[in-house]
């Protein structure tokens, strides 16, 4: 089990429609992850949550987060572009 395998699994779910349909045909979560394991992706529920947790904390909550304290407005959503150490 590893986060890396979870990331690879989700990447394939995004890009391979037949694979996605096959996995989602299973009704419950445990069966889906068992099938994923058979397909070579050994990962846990927690690891799947981890794959999207950084996204939840950052990109998908941009409005709520509002950037960081010192970033001047010029920072292009990346941070730290200002030579003044913002």
């Amino acid at each position: 089990m590893s986060l890396e395998q979870a990331q690879q699994f989700i990447e394939r779910m995004k890009t391979d429609e037949a694979f996605r349909t096959k996995i989602m045909a299973e009704a419950d979560v445990e069966a889906r992850l068992n099938l994923a394991k058979v397909e070579g992706y050994d990962c846990t529920v927690e690891e799947i949550k981890s794959v999207s947790s950084e996204l939840s904390d950052a990109d998908l909550n941009t409005v709520a987060a509002g950037g960081w304290v010192y970033s001047c407005y010029s920072c292009p959503g990346l941070g730290g572009t200002c030579s003044s150490y913002c």
Binding site: Q7, G67, W68
Partner: protein, 487 residues
Amino acid sequence: MLWSRYNTLFRSKKTGRFCYNSLSNSLIELDEKHYALLEGCRQGQDISCAQDNRFFVRLREKHILLEAGEEEGLLLARQCQRQANCFNSSTLGLTICPTLACNFRCPYCFESSQQSGKCMSTETQNRLIDWIKEFTAIKHLSVVWYGGEPLLAFDTICSLTDRFLALGLSYEKVGLITNGYLLDREKIRQLNELKIDSVQITLDGPAEVHDTRRMLAGGDPTFARIMENVAALMDSDYAGLCQIRINVDKNNFESFLGLRTELLERFKGKKLYVYPGHLNILGDQAYDSCCCLNTQEWVDFHLELARRHGMLASAGLHPSYRLDSTCVATTHQGFVLGPEGELYKCWDDVGRPALVVGTIHRQESITNPVLWARYITGVDPFNDPECRNCTVLPICGGGCAHQRLLAKYHGRKEIQYCLPYKTRLIDFLEGYIDSVRTRDICTALLQPGSTPAEPLSWRVISPDPALHAADRAGEVTSQITEDHVAS
């Protein structure tokens, strides 16, 4: 109906078809039929006959299609809002350098006064308090402690904070920018009392890299001691956020991810944020600017972090709206205060006499009104026809005021002050869309009995969770309408 100059209609091999409008900062995913419809609009076809159509209504809401003159009106309103923000008199925003002395000798530092031993005198501190009182309309005082190395003048920070708190103003958003070397347990213990809610510490990579670049004045290494102090901070009852900025250039960017991972694992569960900082040499520092990542390389670095490692900057890949944003340089009550009471408009100007705009020691504190006005009004992107017509103006906001000032008034035409959205907008949006897909897939996967959502003919994708949810709900409802469901 007119096609907005702020639209970007694009087809992505990986993620589909989209229309993005920077004025509303909105992204709409389209099926082929709706993409073709908008392509027609872009080329001047009129679809105003479909005004009761839900899709059309949404295009109007998002300013993708406008009436003649409507866009100028919207811009005027935004310009007015920006000016109101620039001339807001309720807040005094101060970045205070209690000293310009520094115990480090980083080769890329833009300041040139590290060897100055000057700290803010009692006379200047007294005058600062009186000067603040002269801003009779202020309700909020916001302070960032900066330098030099501000912890070399920690007593000044303590004494001035006591006096700021006694002013009866709302005292908030207090930050400390430090190299971290002098942040010992005794100082950490006082951070909460000093109302400092964010501490920023800079590293340049792991010890073997950091110690060749961020060394003491005598050349001794600093990494181990800084890490001891970070550990003490993380182990303390400090209530604020610790931000570790890791400076990145061509020489060390490969070590960024490893150090970030190590820090986050070591201090798991703590209020710690680790992010890359872009070394950008604009002055005459004795550092080879060829080592710096250029804008395109900097963008590639971030997109790669997102694509391969799922790491996103705090503001994410979705553009932020910047049309009415301001910074300390562009607000009339924003100043950087040097230890002798001299006033600057930008952090980058510290220690440069030619860029002093005034002094707190004079009754009329602005002594260089032209420079002051250039920062506040002269670099206003609304006054620049090229900016007004630029597709990404609303999410660029004209770029960095300091860089813009150098380019416009100091002959530094080589400075690229535009934000990278100008050339890389679609790359950012594709990265964002990919992150949305990841989240959607993960959510569906962990929901028993769920199946992947049916493809819609169009949908609005928003970084705001509330808006995103509302829009998705709206689209589900609208599936009953013929023109909205993928055929």
